[in-house]
Amino acid sequence: MKKQILILHPKASCVIRRISTRSSRHYSQPQPRAKSAPEQLVGVVGLEIHAQIQSNTKLFSGSSVRFSAPPNSLVSFFDASLPGTLPVLNRRCVEAAVMTGLALNCTINRKSLFDRKHYFYADLPAGYQITQQRRPIAVDGMLTYSLLGGKKRNQVMRKNVHIKQIQLEQDSGKSLHDDLRSQTLIDLNRAGVGLMELVMEPDMSCGEEAAAAVRELQLILQALGTCQGNMSEGQLRVDANVSVHRPDEPLGIRTEVKNINSVRYLARAIDYEIRRQIDVLQRGGRVQNETRAYDSKTGETVPMRDKEGLQDYRFMPEPNLPPLIVYEDNTSLPTGSDACQAVVVQKIREGLPELPSVKRDRLVQTYGILPEHSFTLVNEDGLVEYFEAVLKATKREPRKVIGWVTNSLLGHLKQHDMSVSQSPVSPPALAELLELQETGHISSSVAKQVFQEMWRSSGKTASQIIHELDLGLVSDMAQLHSICQKVVDSNPDEVHAIRNGNKKVLNKLIGLVQKETKGRADTVLVRTILLEKTS
């Protein structure tokens, strides 16, 4: 199956399927009200998220899972739906789904079922997708996420979104449309990769909330190691169901917004769509129940040709897979069964890592840092570990260290588009620098200079750099006195002003001394000397 499969270019090549159209809620068209209407239209947002399970092999076959491998190089007989092949469930994928379910406070169904969902599409070789329509592996969960609000955006607001369910299902292959030659190429590498479909209830009201919820989910999945969560690589795919209504009225007719490949675009797409729908209603129009694509270039959503909107998926139980049974603990295993082969919820629960929200609370409590700093730390992969490693190697207060980590280090990393693990300045090296500042060997402005130098010439210690560039504090009192005297002598007007009581001018003289010493003078000392000389 290594060859590329050539198929005809479908006339409707831009048709993108609806992945799902489920809702138990009642939707209706909000009626435009008289001008006296007291309540404003507000947005309502629900999300359907497909998370690719981080696993060496696919959901039902032994093929490897890898991003950007040569086309059709990771395709087993089953993935290509050769006749007579059968699905064999990958335990790792089940465990990942159970773990994710537990982390999102879901009820894990002891027995779940697989179903076939039928539709004809070139990148779905079997003509159906194996999914969990009737009874998914996890249901009824809750994701707690936080937003920074308030005027200074430093108030942490906690919000909840209900997780309706998590279901295991197969990913499809990819269709690559060659418009020029009017053909479609099919790559089945992705066909059969395990997905967790998470359905978030419409508990959110704007793009920012949805983005924060997805960001939190990303962090949770990454902490669990159940999904790499990269949206641009398609490991996490988010579709938004957006509607508007007046808070005391039934939900409005929704649209589904697709083609969103970053958290930032998610927020923008949703906010655009809410505004658009409000605009439609206010102009007396009706919102159409349709699928729309987000165009990141224009920042708008546009209707997609959605021919299959009315498709009947003809769901049917998957007859080749027995019910999926997970066990609460080892004692509930049936006698004679192999504990290594079974999925045991208790074991997975015990192995759950520290989740982001717990980690943030711990950081705030343990180190006395501000909540917004805890967000910054946790949001960046490896930054918490970096921060804690620096703290281990220095006596400086965490609240003094945090600025270095979240501003200097993170700033440099962002500027160079690097990850924490790629930082040329190691935690012990930064700790040494901070120690030198703490013990009065260098001033804070020199410390920043040294940090930049350490970034540039990786491997050199702070003390090496200070020595080489002669950046140590001027400790010779006579020399310091002489520099101060020189400044006093050459600025008679300022001295006069100080003597007349304008003490603020003293800062200018301190600055001039620092300029002369290249920032190597102890500011407190300089102030004392200057005060003496101008009194």
């Binding site: 005809l8 006339k11 006749p83 092949t85 059968l86 079997a126 003809r314 049917m316």
Partner: protein, 521 residues
């Protein structure tokens, strides 16, 4: 040599009194002589001779791979065979060459068994006559027996009887002595039905006992690989080799027992034979009924308890079977779209148009009809009314059997088919669906319940055609069923086709020229 049983042959091969190559050649010759039966879609002559050569080397060294080393076998053309065409008797897969072996095929090859070819069938196993094949119908070997011809007095080419189906090619291959065993598949009776009509033994094993990996599915929840042999003892030997859990098929279960030969003398004194009253179905021929009574009496005389029992939901079985069958067919056939493999239409105005014409050209009317019905049953507004309801009835049917077996009945005795084999021209007067309803009436409830069943030939009808009876047992009691089948076999004295062989070669020549489609690797 050709009419030996597996066990006799295995012994002769080990003793060196028969050479595998010689045996293989004889079978190949016989396949050629019986070409008019149209039992094979593909004859793997070269491969068979190569395998036979290897078997000979092993046997000469006294190191056979197993009891089947050197023994010719045939495989229904819906089991995948690596590098050998696997067509499902359909235009859709007319040139399809799978890259792997079905587990059951691999197990036989691992034993050193010699593959003679792939046998004809109803397209995608949908049928009960082996008349709906893209390669033409299979003819029942007994059509050419002297007994039948004397009785009818008609030229066999204008008046031959169907082999039954859908594994008609496999049954014909075993009956006409071109293979000692054959694999069939059994979804609603597809192995037992042709076995009964062709006078051979068929085992439909317990669901899950044999791997379906590599069996191109009809109805996944009912399909089982079936075993066709000349005796119950032979079927037990093959069962021992094929049974057991397969990592590639999640619905398989471990074998309940280690390989053991059937006991020569099975004592029926303490067993209870159930006669389900609902199986006195309309259309049951007098002769078949007579055989049923005769064997029941035999059991009674031998000291077995013979009781009338009731399986009250039997009458609903066939209609529910069809709903479930067609729903799964609609789903299973979805993959045949012309993209990855199989037939692809030349129409290329759009992908959708290509799908449509590919499927129209590739499938016969029967397959297309079932797909259409199945999709209808699965529509959102119909699902509860048809599919779910049929599943519920399926549960009731399963419970019927459970009740009977838990009330002390060991084995149920029923006819396998309503009558002996129909004449081809009579058979095709009715459509495929009607025929399936008639032909599968006694066999498909067993598939609904996943139970083991055996069809064993008991006598020839007045026309000289075989009549078979069916034994049904509780799940995983396959071996016991075969023991009971053997007990019957030992007492009814069913003749070998050899006894009725036409000595003249002339009609075979006609058969060859009449043959419409031949294909060989």
């Amino acid at each position: 040599m050709l009419s030996l049983t597996l066990r006799e042959l295995s012994l002769a091969l080990r003793e060196g009194s028969i050479s595998p190559i010689e045996l293989c050649r004889k079978c190949l010759n016989r396949i050629k002589k019986t070409q008019h039966l149209n039992a094979y879609i593909t004859v793997t002559e070269e491969l068979a001779l190569k395998q036979a050569q290897e078997a000979e080397t092993r046997l000469l060294q006294g190191a056979p791979k197993g009891p089947l080393d050197g023994i010719p076998f045939a495989v229904k053309d819906n089991f995948c065979t690596e590098n050998i065409k696997t067509t499902c008797a359909s235009r859709m897969l007319k040139d399809y060459i799978p890259p792997y072996n079905a587990t059951v095929v691999q197990k036989l090859l691992d034993q050193g068994a010699v593959l003679m070819g792939k046998t004809n069938m109803d397209e995608f196993a949908m049928g009960s006559g082996s008349t709906d094949s893209a390669f033409g119908p299979v003819r029942n070997p007994w059509s050419y027996s002297a007994s039948y011809r004397e009785q009818t007095g008609v030229a066999p080419d204008s008046d031959w009887v169907v082999s039954g189906g859908s594994s008609g090619g496999s049954a014909a291959a075993v009956a006409s002595l071109t293979s000692y065993l054959a694999l069939g598949s059994d979804t609603g009776g597809s192995t037992r039905n042709p076995a009964a009509l062709c006078g051979v033994v068929a085992l439909k094993p317990t669901y899950g006992l044999l791997s379906r990996h590599g069996l191109i599915p009809l109805v996944n929840s009912m399909d089982v690989p079936g075993i066709l042999t000349r005796t119950a003892r032979d079927a037990a030997i093959v069962l021992d080799i094929l049974q057991g859990q397969d990592m590639r098929d999640s619905t398989t279960v471990p074998a309940p027992s280690s390989p053991t030969e059937l006991p020569e003398d099975f004592d029926v004194k303490n067993i209870c034979i159930g006669i389900p009253k609902e199986y006195h179905a309309p259309g049951l021929s007098e002769e078949t009924l007579a055989q049923w009574s005769r064997v029941a009496d035999m059991f009674e005389r031998a000291g077995a308890r013979v009781e009338q029992v009731s399986l009250p939901h039997t009458q609903y079985s066939i209609v529910c079977y069809h709903v479930l069958c067609q729903a799964e067919v609609a789903s299973n056939m979805a993959r045949f779209d012309g993209l990855e493999y199989g037939h692809r239409s030349k129409v290329n105005t759009s992908t959708e148009a290509m799908y449509t014409t590919t499927r129209h050209e590739g499938f016969n009317d029967v397959v297309r009809g079932r797909i259409l019905c199945g999709n209808y049953f699965l529509l959102k507004q119909n699902y509860q009314h048809y599919f779910v309801k049929a599943q519920k009835i399926r549960r009731l049917i399963t419970d019927d059997f459970k009740h009977v077996f838990s009330s002390g009945v060991d084995v149920l005795l029923t006819p396998s088919t309503l009558t002996d084999a129909a004449r081809y021209h009579d058979f095709i007067q009715e459509d495929n669906r009607t025929r399936s309803v008639q032909e599968d009436v006694f066999t498909q409830p067993v598939n609904m319940a996943g139970l083991p069943a055996v069809s064993v030939p008991t006598a020839l009808s007045r026309l000289g055609l075989p009549i078979g009876l069916q034994l049904i047992g509780p799940a995983l009691q396959d071996k016991k069923l075969l023991s009971v089948a053997q007990w019957i076999e030992q007492r009814v004295g069913f003749p070998s086709i050899r006894d009725f062989e036409d000595s003249s070669e002339s009609r075979n020549e006609i058969g060859v020229t009449k043959r419409e489609q031949t294909s060989a690797v």
